[in-house]
């Protein structure tokens, strides 16, 4: 490679990275650094006495240890449910597959208050199963699996659906066992996507907040919960900053481990259209697999969702649509400041905005990470992941103390909501896109270059069709993250434009059967909107780029 080509490569990388970097810098690094500095140097002078005292507390160690092990265990359990689910949806055609594929995304968007209520109805006092698990670690783990299975199914399934099944079939013909063919052929190709998904699940569960408070009760605390208590309840900024930094350190280490594993795992391969790879199940073993996996998904994901719908339909005079009609009638009085229909519209507009901000930035960032290997690229990747692993209170309070210094005061702007959502959704878009982009066969790109195509043209002809699919998976996640986002939104000063999760939260904080029923009805509407959006994204994926 001559000097000119190298410098052009570097220029392209910089051009690709500049927008995502500016976004993260302005809306994540700047606010978080500002608030941490306030905590560590309250009077402009670095004061380490208070942070050291916080670290020396025995409960800090306990909280850190609990945070770590519950996250590891939650991630492993989520993989146990998500991987069979991913295989099922990637490889088999069966009636209802498309709907199931859309429904998988639904748990992901539900606010923790709603999931908490559903789980407590299911495994709390008076649960229909006769199984009391509330205030135990099992409730926390089950809720984490419920929330995060979609990440594994979608991120891993997205790649799995496009692995050429003939490779594995060839191995089988050559005498490999089913398991051997998987281990030798499919697993190495799949590993980047599995790692990608696992890293997100780990971050999500590491920073778990609502699930811990509601289902674990006061006996359990993650670092995130401790940060919340310090910042939002006690306004003890030195303690909050110390704990937030501790959380960030843990995450930095886990991201380095991730980068190491990912570096070894990347392989390029030939991808095929999803509909080529999927076929109806054949033989008893395959049908058994389909049946068992469907039963598992129904138990872990379907049962809590069904409980919500059941509570939404239940009324004092038996089952009916009363809660729904009252939601859209006049009786939703004081508890909601706006008609419920407005909350739905607000949610859709914010989700559209967050997707529009997030998708271009995510694609640019994914291109940098996928095509430029090395320390800088993985550092960039880690930086993008950090917002997911940073306490929502810290980001929210950070916005307040930093963004006010900018020439345009964004602190109370409605724009801040989709920006915050985009910050949370960005890692999902990147993680959905990078494995697909990396897997693009380099020889195809080289061939195009040899035949005289410019890098831009090569990208358009070779990469774009695959990137298009990745983008749609990413977009569906960004949209879903924004629809359900609740934690970060809660710590931003919000203008009066409540989203569906906020409306549910407000309805739930009133006594009265009607308010509760309305909250559950609104949650059901949120589920429906999500499922419809997911179906629409899937349809786009198969019609526009699926055949490429």
């Amino acid at each position: 490679m001559d000097q000119r080509v190298v410098s052009r490569h570097a220029l392209t990388t910089v051009a690709l990275a500049v927008l995502p970097l500016a976004f993260i810098g302005l809306f994540f690094v700047f606010p978080v650094v500002t608030i941490l500095l306030r905590g560590f140097a309250p009077n402009g002078v670095l004061d380490l006495a208070a942070p050291l005292q916080v670290l020396a507390r025995p409960e800090t160690l306990g909280v850190a240890w609990f945070t770590l092990w519950q996250a590891v265990l939650s991630t492993l359990l989520t993989l146990c449910v998500g991987l069979p689910g991913a295989y099922l949806l990637a490889r088999f055609n069966f009636p209802g597959r498309r709907v199931l594929n859309a429904l998988i995304l639904v748990p992901f968007v539900l606010p923790t208050v709603v999931v908490g209520a559903a789980f407590l109805a299911l495994i709390g006092p008076r649960g229909p199963l006769g199984l009391r698990l509330d205030h135990t670690i099992w409730a926390i783990l089950l809720a984490h699996v419920f929330y995060n299975s979609a990440v594994v199914v979608r991120v891993v399934g997205g790649l799995w659906a496009q692995l050429d099944p003939r490779t594995e079939e060839a191995a089988r013909i050559l005498g490999a066992s089913r398991w051997g063919a998987f281990r030798q052929v499919t697993w190495p190709l799949l590993r980047p996507a599995v790692l990608s998904a696992a890293s997100i699940v780990f971050l999500f569960t590491f920073t778990s907040f609502g699930v811990i408070l509601i289902l674990g009760g006061p006996g359990y605390a993650t670092i995130e919960v401790a940060v919340y208590r310090a910042a939002a309840v006690l306004l003890d900024l030195p303690a909050a900053a110390t704990l937030a930094l501790l959380q960030l350190c843990f995450l930095a280490v886990s991201l380095v481990v991730y980068a190491r594993l990912q570096q070894r795992a990347a392989l390029s391969q030939r991808l095929v259209a999803a509909r080529v790879a999927a076929r109806p199940p054949r033989g008893r073993a395959e049908w058994a697999f389909v049946g068992v996996t469907l039963a598992l998904l129904a138990l872990v994901l379907g049962l809590p969702l069904a409980t919500l719908v059941e509570r939404a339909l239940a009324g004092p005079q038996g089952y009916g649509l009363d809660n729904f009609t009252s939601l859209f009638g006049q009786s939703a009085r004081g508890a909601l400041f706006v008609p419920p229909i407005d909350a739905i519209r607000n949610s859709l507009v914010f989700a559209g905005g967050a997707t529009a901000i997030c998708l271009p930035l995510g694609l640019l960032a994914a291109a940098v990470i996928a095509y430029r290997r090395g320390v800088l690229a993985s550092g960039f990747d880690a930086l993008l992941m950090l917002p997911l692993g940073t306490s929502a209170v810290i980001i929210g309070f950070g916005f307040l103390v930093s963004v006010g210094q900018l020439p345009i005061d964004l602190r109370t702007s409605p724009l801040l909501i989709p920006i915050a959502h985009a910050l949370v959704a960005l890692p999902f878009v990147v993680r959905a896109c990078v494995p697909l982009m990396r897997s693009i066969d380099r020889r195809l790109r080289d061939a195009a270059a040899v035949l005289g195509a410019s890098p831009g043209r090569t990208w358009r002809l070779v990469d774009l069709p695959i990137v298009g699919r990745a983008a749609l998976i990413g977009a569906s996640f960004a949209f879903a993250v924004s629809l359900g986002e609740f934690g970060a939104t809660l710590f931003i000063v919000r203008p009066e434009a409540p989203t569906m999760p906020i409306a549910i939260f407000r309805l739930l904080s009133q006594p009265g059967t009607l308010a509760f029923g309305q909250a559950m009805a609104m949650a059901t509407v949120l589920m429906l909107v999500t499922a419809i959006a997911a179906l629409a994204f899937d349809r786009l994926r198969t019609t526009s780029v699926g055949g490429a």
């Binding site: 006092p125 919340y228 009252s326 400041f337 006010g404 919000r494 203008p495 904080s509 006594p511 009265g512």
Partner: protein, 370 residues
């Protein structure tokens, strides 16, 4: 750099600009359904002045009527900014005191008041109408905040679980009796506002010194198998057996006004609430409004505080926020007076005492209950 990438970047920038433009419309445009706003007069009036109200998630009034009255009287546009729960809101106001987010704040209560006052976030103001408010609610002698409403945190009980043979508890002391074993659910004072209020009630009642301290009381509650959950939702909706609760505990820490909501938010509305209130050992929470220091609209902000003490606003409070108006002469809806429990002797504590000891008490509480 080659052209396709430049073009892509340009297209992306365009998309971002369009989205920004579309979003900046949200929240700033007046609600088209706002029937209460006056129709435009032939001569174009000066554009309304914006008044920013920082408040918590539980703030509610009958809109657009109630805010519309103020807006048309003062040619103002009230923009509501929500900042989480009361504690989170106060903290955000303190963090931004050099460059305030809003002009007026509503919703700081007596448990967070001393923190807000110590941080000097308010401008003193003697509101018109505050003289009608009972002295017991006017907790700041320098009038940096104005009391707007109050409510009592009390034990609620499931009427179906008790009868003549097994009456509901009458006092805080009863809760440690074997008759009420495994029946009570309370909230963690570290994460819940009613939880904190209930803990403060026990401190005020049993004291920190003597033969039987508040911590002894909590150890007895623990021995009597009290259930502790993180927040009001988990306590009331999921653990409590009465009303809309789906749990199995007939006693819960909630509000003296929760029975009102049980009737109001039911379809059809019952003649009597399925829940009752133990009126002993209730902690009184007072909510205040204040003009934020550094506001660019001090006069309009003061007018809004005045407005919150008018009969129009005060009478609107009960069925929206389920608390009592601070002005005792303001008419209260019949449904509210019928079902809200009157607490003859609420427990109180000075905001300074709460502010100085909150963290220590929460830590001691944790040690005694775990």
């Amino acid at each position: 750099m080659n052209r396709p990438i430049l073009l892509t970047l340009a297209a992306l920038a365009a998309v971002v600009v369009i989205v920004v433009a579309a979003l900046s419309g949200i929240g700033t445009t007046p609600n088209p359904d706002a029937a209460g706003t006056p129709s435009p007069t032939p001569t174009t009036p000066p554009p309304p002045t914006e008044l920013r109200l920082l408040t918590h998630d539980s703030f509610a009034v009958t809109t657009p009527e109630i805010l519309g009255v103020f807006e048309s009287q003062n040619n103002a546009k009230v923009n509501i900014l929500r900042a989480g729960d009361a504690g989170s809101m106060v903290n955000q106001a303190i963090l931004t005191k050099d460059n305030p987010l809003a002009d007026v704040l509503f919703g700081v209560d007596n448990t967070f008041l001393s923190r807000a006052l110590d941080a000097n976030i308010f401008e003193p103001y003697h509101a018109a109408g505050v003289d009608a408010v009972p002295a017991a609610l006017r907790l700041d002698a320098r009038e940096r905040v104005t009391p707007i409403d109050y409510g009592d945190v009390c034990i609620n009980y499931d009427k179906a679980a008790y009868g003549d043979a097994n009456p509901p508890p009458q006092s805080l002391a009863d809760l440690t009796q074997p008759a009420y074993r495994s029946q009570l659910v309370v909230e963690d004072p570290g994460t819940s506002s009613p939880g904190l209020a209930f803990m403060l009630a026990t401190i005020a009642r049993f004291g920190e010194t003597g033969d039987y301290t508040w911590l002894d009381y909590w150890r007895d509650l623990r021995a009597n198998d009290v259930t502790i959950v993180s927040g009001w939702n988990e306590a009331y909706e999921s653990s409590f057996s009465g009303g809309s609760g789906a749990g199995d505990k007939p006693l819960v820490v909630s509000y003296a006004t929760s029975p009102v909501a049980e009737v109001y938010y039911a379809s059809p509305q019952p003649a009597e609430s399925p829940t009752g209130v133990v009126t002993d050992g209730c902690f009184r929470q007072v909510e205040f409004a204040g003009v934020l220091a550094g506001t660019k609209q001090p006069e309009l902000a003061k007018k809004f505080v005045d407005y919150m003490l008018t009969t129009v606003f005060q009478s609107d409070i009960p069925l929206n926020m389920f608390v009592f108006p601070a002005v005792p002469t303001a008419p209260v809806p019949q449904l509210f007076t019928d079902h809200a429990a009157q607490v003859p002797e609420p427990v109180t504590m000075s905001p300074e005492q709460i502010g100085a000891n909150r963290e220590r008490w929460i830590n001691e509480w944790s040690a005694a209950t775990h």
